[in-house]
């Protein structure tokens, strides 16, 4: 195997690769990237046994072949080489030699035929969707993904085809929750996605796809079956296992009868929440919202005996006195997703979930469970 590749091309590809490859692994070959050279192309394969990435780049081939070598080391080397240089790879018996300008490196190799491959079975459906939609769906929901590993079925986003709330339109919907808050985001249903019954895409895959979508334009082709999802983004293909579990019936926890409407200015609300939660150092970050006569008072106190209060003007149609407690960090996470100037919060009782929405974007819906404070 012998080929020459442009530094810039290889840097982009290896940066995608190193993000998939785990830094610490008990299976040595998993820290390697597999390189396959044929037909004027280099294909890089990386996997952590859950996600598999394949990326194709153009190279100048002198001799075809395949080899695996440590992914992170390769990435670090390529990153430090001058971008003007071409890099020449030569596979010898025990190693791969790299030559670029006046630098020479030799990297260890492991047998290519031992490199694990995700078992692919036939995809039962596929659709094309624009990158912005994918990035929007992920970006607005991923903060709510649970990190508690015993509830593995919440460690990802739930994706499915659905009617929208008014049932006049079909949507592709994404839901994420950690049991304390819930995010529901939707876009118009792409053609071909009608039979997407409901799959759970793991957190790591969600983050990887989001990173890749930031530098990609055009359409993403998504294929799926009961156990796998495949994203094709130009020269990059990501295949991921799905989480094998059943996502809770999220519709049931979205309150239907919240009738106390609070409207307030999102940016200054976020700043106020941030300011008052300064005093609470602990994880609970409890904040109390006291509302009366179009005035909202935010109150926070902490185990260190610190206190903070702040008033702000709001629109409170109900007029009655109402108070409710929330985790300040959860509140901030949600408000930060709202792009309109105004955020709408509807309450039921003070021990019941509240709904937060963007006034001008009804494809976003957030549910937040209160705290007893």
């Amino acid at each position: 195997m012998k080929f020459t590749v442009k530094q810039a091309d290889l840097l982009k590809a290896t940066s995608h690769v190193q993000s998939i490859v785990e830094r610490k692994t008990t299976v040595p070959i998993l820290s390697n990237v597999k390189m396959t050279v044929s037909d004027g192309k280099l294909i890089l394969h990386a996997t952590d046994m859950e996600i598999e990435l394949a990326e194709t780049i153009d190279v100048e081939v002198e001799e075809e072949g395949t080899a695996t070598t440590p992914a992170h080391t390769l990435y670090e080397i390529v990153k430090k080489l001058p971008s003007s240089e071409d890099i020449e790879f030569t596979l010898t018996e025990n190693q791969i030699d790299l030559k670029a300008g006046r630098s020479r490196f030799s990297l260890s190799i492991l047998a290519s035929d031992e490199f694990p491959v995700l078992k692919q079975n036939e995809y039962t459906g596929s659709f094309e969707i624009d990158t912005e939609s994918v990035s929007y769906l992920i970006n607005k929901s991923r903060f709510a993904i649970s990190t508690e590993e015993t509830r593995y079925y919440l460690n990802g986003i739930y994706m499915h085809a659905s009617d929208n709330d008014t049932e006049d339109n079909k949507v592709l919907r994404v839901v994420a929750t950690d049991g304390h808050r819930l995010a529901r985001v939707e876009v118009e249903l792409p053609e071909g996605a009608e039979n997407l019954q409901g799959i759970i895409v793991p957190r790591k895959t969600v983050h990887e796809i989001f990173k890749l979508s930031e530098n990609f334009e055009g359409n993403i082709k998504i294929s799926f079956n009961e156990t796998l999802i495949k994203f094709e983004m130009g020269s990059i293909t990501i295949t991921s296992k799905l989480i094998d579990g059943s996502f809770p019936d999220y519709q049931r926890v979205i309150p239907k009868n919240n009738n106390k409407l609070l409207e307030l200015e999102a940016v200054s609300f976020a700043k106020s929440v941030d300011r008052v939660s300064t005093v609470s150092l602990d994880r609970s970050r409890a904040i109390k919202l006291e509302i009366q006569d179009n005035q909202l008072t935010l109150v926070a106190n902490s185990v260190s005996n610190n206190q903070a209060e702040e008033d702000m003007e709001v629109t409170w149609e109900n007029g009655e006195e109402f108070s409710i407690g929330f985790n300040g960090k959860y509140l901030l996470d949600i408000i930060n997703q709202i792009e309109d100037e105004t955020v709408q919060i509807t309450f039921g009782q003070s021990t019941e979930p509240a709904i937060l929405r963007d006034v001008s974007d009804d494809s976003l819906l957030y549910v937040l469970m209160p705290m007893r404070v």
């Binding site: 649970s146 990190t147 508690e148 015993t150 509830r151 929750t177 950690d178 049991g179 304390h180 808050r181 819930l182 809770p248 049931r252 926890v253 150092l281 602990d282 994880r283 609970s284 409890a286 106190n301 185990v303 260190s304 005996n305 407690g325 985790n327 021990t351 979930p353 549910v367 469970m369 209160p370 705290m371 007893r372 404070v373």
Partner: protein, 632 residues
């Protein structure tokens, strides 16, 4: 074909329950002696009691006619009213003598106190021989030879002689702690293994933490402490505190160790219910609960606790060896014990174990660093677990006094002075101002220097004190946070979807009983079906909670200890982490004002003698001990 088993076989079966090893023989026979009103009991063993055990007492003895009856099954003099629920004696089952006699070569010699003749009865493996006249001055002597010679299976299971001997020692020690007016001695052929000094000879008063002029808080307190110093160790009196509780139904007395005087297991925890040694896990649990916050969870205080309850409220007949007990008012006993211990501990805000201090001193000695502190009660050295002492010693390993490493801090400027200016000697401090002297009457003294940016050296009129700045400050921060947390309500995060937790029906009933208490800690649960419950709210401090795991932990705590402390501990762990982050680290240079302020705050903070892990926060080196080092 059914048939009744021969009497001898029945006795052997019974022996299987009661007589497990030589130590059980000793236990049964010594208890008999105690029931006979003996004030002096001598035990001789050979080969760990396997080949020979003899027990001689000065009790009231048996008459000739009773000798035969004594070795009959279920023959006893101890249930005068035929009432199993009014047991005032150590024994009552009437099983011990026939059982022992059926598995050994057994000789019973006794002289009733009202009679002038002594008689002897020999039984070989259950076969009685003629009663013959014998000579004995007083009381009863029982000799048990070749235990289990006719039950080879049981014989095979006996452990090494030293192990069996340890078990016997343990039994004698336990009994001698509760019968403080009885003299015990144990010896083998060669030497004495254990002797209690009788009350007549205990003239030397042990030094105690109590002030000399303070009245004892319960009768025989000094006697008890003198006995405990013989059984537990010479340093126990000066590191222990008396506890006392009296209500209508419950009377508790005893001695508990201060938190820094602890062990790595609970073998040094002795419980007595109506003078009977117990190994009851409910009582162990109550102690653990009482010491929570004082001692890290893998360390155990040393204590001897005597509980007296009306015989009607306790069932001793749970276990043939009578080491377990059933109380009628379990909860009340436990809470009385916890509050008695807490009450005492709360009064001792900052005392560090003298053994810790003694170890520190012995570290400074060049020769035989360990001999000084652990020379006491040689025969029990195995109980004083040299490993445990090594572990404690390790905390002090970095403590090498090296003059070159003194960072002297100028009290006015906070500057670190070069090591050439030596620390103030006693002489110069005497010449210092009056106020300096009065300030040295603070228990932790005035700060003089900081060593290795970690240890504060302070001086009182009689000692030098070394304080670990991080662990001391950590305790202070932790106590403040905990105080504030208790004042504020614990916040609960409601769950969007209640977690369903599957469990057994009896587990469900058990945990639902605690629902109110758990709600106060921020955990809200409710019954969902006959074998599942809903978790509606979790403590906000814990963040995202694995409900299934939390409930499982709570249940194991409930079955093990009967309380919900696990949740409390999880919350404390979070507060602990906050305290750790909010405290001065080792390696931070403090000026004199900061050091003194830390010492003064320690004096006013409960539990400040030990860090959150139960290790000492400071070591006190008595001037007297230091002078000894220099041969003054």
């Amino acid at each position: 074909m059914l048939r009744l088993l021969p009497k001898n076989l029945i006795n052997q079966i019974s022996a299987g329950e009661v007589v497990e090893r030589p130590a059980s023989v000793v236990k049964e026979l010594v208890e008999n002696s105690l029931d006979a009103g003996a004030t002096s009991i001598h035990i001789i063993i050979r080969d760990g009691g396997k080949s020979y055990i003899s027990i001689t007492d000065n009790g009231k003895g048996l008459c000739k006619d009773d000798l035969h009856l004594a070795v009959q099954r279920h023959a006893t003099s101890k249930l005068p009213n035929d009432d199993l629920f009014d047991i005032n004696t150590m024994g009552f089952r009437g099983e011990a003598l026939p059982s022992i006699a059926s598995v050994s070569r057994f000789t019973l010699t006794s002289k009733q106190d009202t009679s002038s003749e002594a008689w002897q009865l020999t039984i070989n493996g259950g076969t009685q021989e003629e009663i013959i006249p014998a000579t004995l001055q007083q009381g009863t002597r029982i000799e048990v030879k070749d235990l289990f010679y006719n039950t080879p299976a049981r014989l095979k299971f006996l452990k090494a002689d030293t192990t069996e001997q340890t078990h016997i020692l343990d039994i004698i020690r336990r009994l001698s702690q509760s019968f403080i007016k009885v003299d015990f001695s144990l010896s083998d052929d060669k030497r004495s293994l254990f002797t209690t000094k009788g009350q007549q000879t205990h003239g030397q008063q042990p030094h105690t933490l109590q002030d000399q002029d303070q009245d004892p808080i319960f009768a025989d307190q000094e006697l008890m402490l003198a006995r405990l110093s013989q059984t537990i160790g010479k340093d126990f009196p000066e590191n222990s505190l008396p506890i006392y509780h009296k209500s209508d139904d419950i009377f508790i007395k005893g001695f508990i160790s201060i938190p820094t005087y602890n062990r790595k297991d609970s073998r040094q925890q002795f419980f007595y219910v109506n003078n009977r040694p117990m190994k009851d896990k409910q009582l162990f649990g109550a102690v653990r609960r009482a010491y929570r916050g004082y001692i890290y969870h893998d360390r155990f205080p040393i204590l001897a606790i005597f509980i007296e309850v009306n015989n009607r409220n306790v069932d001793m007949n749970v276990h043939p060896a009578k080491t377990e007990v059933r109380f009628r008012y379990q909860q009340q006993i436990q809470s009385a014990l916890v509050s008695a211990i807490r009450h005492t501990l709360a009064q001792s805000t900052f005392e560090v174990s003298t053994t810790v201090n003694a170890q520190a001193i012995s570290m400074l000695e060049k020769e035989e660093p360990q001999s000084q502190s652990y020379s006491q009660s040689q025969s029990y050295s195995q109980h004083l677990s040299p490993k445990a002492s090594l572990i404690t010693r390790n905390h002090f390993e970095p403590m090498q006094v090296n003059a070159n490493e003194f960072n002297l801090v100028n009290p006015d400027t906070g500057e670190v002075l070069p090591p050439t200016s030596q620390p103030t000697s006693q002489g110069t401090s005497e010449s210092e101002s009056e106020s300096e002297l009065t300030r040295e009457s603070y228990p932790l003294g005035m700060a003089k220097a900081q060593l290795h940016k970690t240890y504060i050296i302070s001086q009182t009129s009689e000692s030098i004190i070394i304080t670990d700045q991080h662990s001391a400050h950590e305790r202070i921060t932790y106590e403040t946070l905990k105080d504030n947390m208790a004042k504020n309500q614990i916040k609960g995060q409601l769950l969007l979807v209640p977690d369903v937790v599957q469990l057994l029906e009896e587990e469900l009933a058990l945990i639902l009983k605690q629902a109110k208490k758990l709600e106060q800690l921020g955990l809200v649960i409710e019954k969902f079906s006959h074998n599942s419950l809903l978790v509606r709210q979790t403590p906000a401090l814990l963040g995202e909670v694995d409900s299934q795991g939390l409930i499982a932990d709570l249940l194991s705590g409930l079955t093990e200890w009967g309380d919900c402390d696990i949740l409390q501990e999880k919350l404390s762990a979070v507060v602990h982490r906050m305290a750790c982050h909010g405290s001065v680290r080792a390696g931070k240079i403090l000026n004199i004002e900061e050091m003194n302020n830390l010492l003064r705050t320690m004096e006013n903070t409960p539990k400040s003698a030990q860090c959150i892990h139960g290790r000492p926060t400071y070591v006190k080196l008595e001037l007297k001990q230091i002078e000894k080092l220099f041969g003054r």
